[in-house]
């Protein structure tokens, strides 16, 4: 698998209504340059999976390419609510499917194993069950205990952001790897963006090259989100987005 310096090439099976999973957590390590490249393809009506979302979800809603958003929570963290996401939640379009963190992880785990569903320790009495059609309560076959099962999510494409990649294509993440390893395991095709090429011990890689189909190198790939130990969060860019109600997608680098 070559490590590319140039823009990513998306798989030919990717089309309208495909499901794209985005890694990172909150305002950390969002693969923003990969998202911008995806938007340039003109593919629309996407399903989006963002475990804990922020400007990734905002940019994709603003570009009008999302039909459905799966998330356990999306906001601008300390900089307030995510305006486009909030608007979607109020209007019902794009559709937002609310998950608990545990249940969304279980759905991706099921996807990684190509199972139909996976049990999760989420409470079977939560009303999240009433608003999320991908969750069912069944008795555990051994204990008989009422248990929540999450329907598998198999993303067509996973996009992840790391701090470094080695020449062999192993991806290194400094700090919390969050959902990234799981979406790379679950997805049909995974593209990673790394800040730099560095030779490191492959045993310490967060995501082995075996789970990656392409890696591009972009020192500003996470902008405006943070990517430890590289770029800090661009607070001005993110708070301007929040202040202006998520107005101009150019604010988040969309040309």
């Amino acid at each position: 698998m070559p490590v590319e310096k140039a823009a990513p090439a998306f798989p030919s099976f990717l089309r309208d209504r495909s499901v794209v999973a985005v890694g990172g957590i909150g305002l950390n390590r969002k693969p923003m340059s990969l998202i911008r490249a995806l938007l340039a393809t003109g593919i629309r009506r996407l399903g989006l999976v963002s475990f804990l979302g922020s400007v990734d979800v905002e940019l994709m809603i603003a570009a009008g390419v999302v039909d459905c958003i799966h998330t356990a929570g999306t906001s601008l963290d300390g900089m307030g609510l995510a305006p486009r996401y909030r608007q979607a939640r109020q209007r019902g379009h794009p559709r937002v499917v609310e998950w608990s963190e545990g249940a969304l992880a279980a759905a991706l785990e099921a996807g990684a194993f190509r199972l139909g569903s996976f049990p999760t320790a989420m409470s079977p009495r939560s009303e999240v069950l009433a608003v999320n059609p991908h969750l069912r309560v069944m008795p555990d076959p051994f204990t008989g205990e009422e248990t929540v099962y999450a329907q598998a999510i198999i993303p067509d494409l996973a996009l992840v952001q790391g701090s470094a990649v080695d020449a062999a294509g192993n991806l290194y993440i400094d700090g919390d790897p969050a959902i990234d390893v799981l979406i790379a395991r679950a997805a049909r095709y995974t593209i990673a963006s790394a800040l730099a090429v560095e030779e490191r011990d492959p045993r310490t890689a967060a995501i082995s090259r075996l789970w990656l189909d392409q890696v591009v190198v972009d020192p500003k790939g996470s902008w405006p989100t943070a990517c430890f130990p590289g770029p800090l969060l661009d607070q001005e860019a993110v708070s301007a987005w929040g202040r202006e109600g998520g107005g101009d997608p150019g604010r988040l680098g969309l040309t």
């Binding site: 992880a105 320790a121 989420m122 409470s123 939560s126 999240v128 700090g175």
Partner: protein
């Protein structure tokens, strides 16, 4: 003698001490980064009465760091933490019940201990929607104890029935649901007979709590007073949070409550 006024800092400190009192020496406390008062309480417990308690906050284990450094994340904690744990591994710790206690900050809570972190208003047409359910539905069925707090105690926050049950209450073994609620006015706890007013803060009358609470609760007379921080706790809080970050979580409202 009842005082009538408290500054936001005094309110925050009484709340932090009441939250810290829930932590024992053998507890393993998990704290999300969206709950600074809970984080301050866990740091206070480790610095005072529960030095043996363990703290995992935002994936960082037992760091030699103050509140500001913890909230700064990986970058500001480099070289200070005993271990880093990924978000997913910390969920597994909850599932294995290595973790014993977590702090949550719901938008609404009711007398049955149901927590709402999702939306306010009728389901078909919610008036306010929050970022999402986060881990609330997981935590209530995973952890032996959940301690909730709310900095704006009023009838629309402490309600008869929450608009949406993100995390259900009710004591169920082995996970216990919400066991204690600390607000800017009082402390409640849940037992076999439901919810009880445990204590009112030093500047609060029991009548004010009744007026500000939308759910029914039991009282055992005379109503106890929530302890004020002692000198050792005040000194520890000064070291943990010299900048007073904990006060920023208090609502910008009239905290005196004297005229209502």
């Amino acid at each position: 003698m009842t005082r009538r006024h408290a500054s936001p800092r005094e309110v925050a400190d009484v709340m932090v001490c009441a939250l810290a009192a829930e932590i024992g020496d053998g507890d393993f406390v998990g704290v999300g980064l969206g709950t600074p008062l809970g984080l301050a309480a866990a740091l206070l417990a480790r610095a005072t009465h529960a030095p043996g308690s363990a703290l995992l906050a935002g994936g960082v284990f037992n760091a030699d760091a103050d509140l500001g450094a913890y909230l700064g994340g990986t970058r500001s904690l480099e070289g200070k933490a005993l271990a880093f744990v990924s978000h997913f591994a910390s969920m597994e710790m909850a599932e294995r019940r290595t973790m014993t206690l977590q702090f949550l900050r719901p938008a609404q809570i009711d007398g049955a201990g149901n927590l709402n972190t999702s939306r306010i208003g009728p389901r078909a047409a919610p008036k306010v929607r929050f970022p999402g359910g986060l881990a609330t539905a997981d935590v209530v069925s995973l952890l032996p104890r959940v301690v909730a707090y709310h900095t704006d105690h009023r009838p629309r926050s402490l309600v008869e029935r929450v608009d949406f049950v993100t995390g259900p209450g009710g004591r169920r073994h082995p996970a216990g649901g919400v066991s204690v609620l600390v607000t800017n006015l009082a402390v409640f706890d849940w037992g076999e007979e439901g919810v009880r007013l445990r204590s009112v803060h030093p500047w609060v009358e029991p009548r004010q709590v009744a007026e500000a609470t939308g759910f029914r609760y039991r009282i055992s007379e005379p109503v106890a007073t929530t302890p004020c921080p002692d000198p050792q706790q005040l000194q520890a809080l000064e070291q943990i949070d010299e900048a007073g970050i904990r006060v920023t979580e208090m609502p910008t409202m009239d905290l005196r409550m004297s005229s209502r």
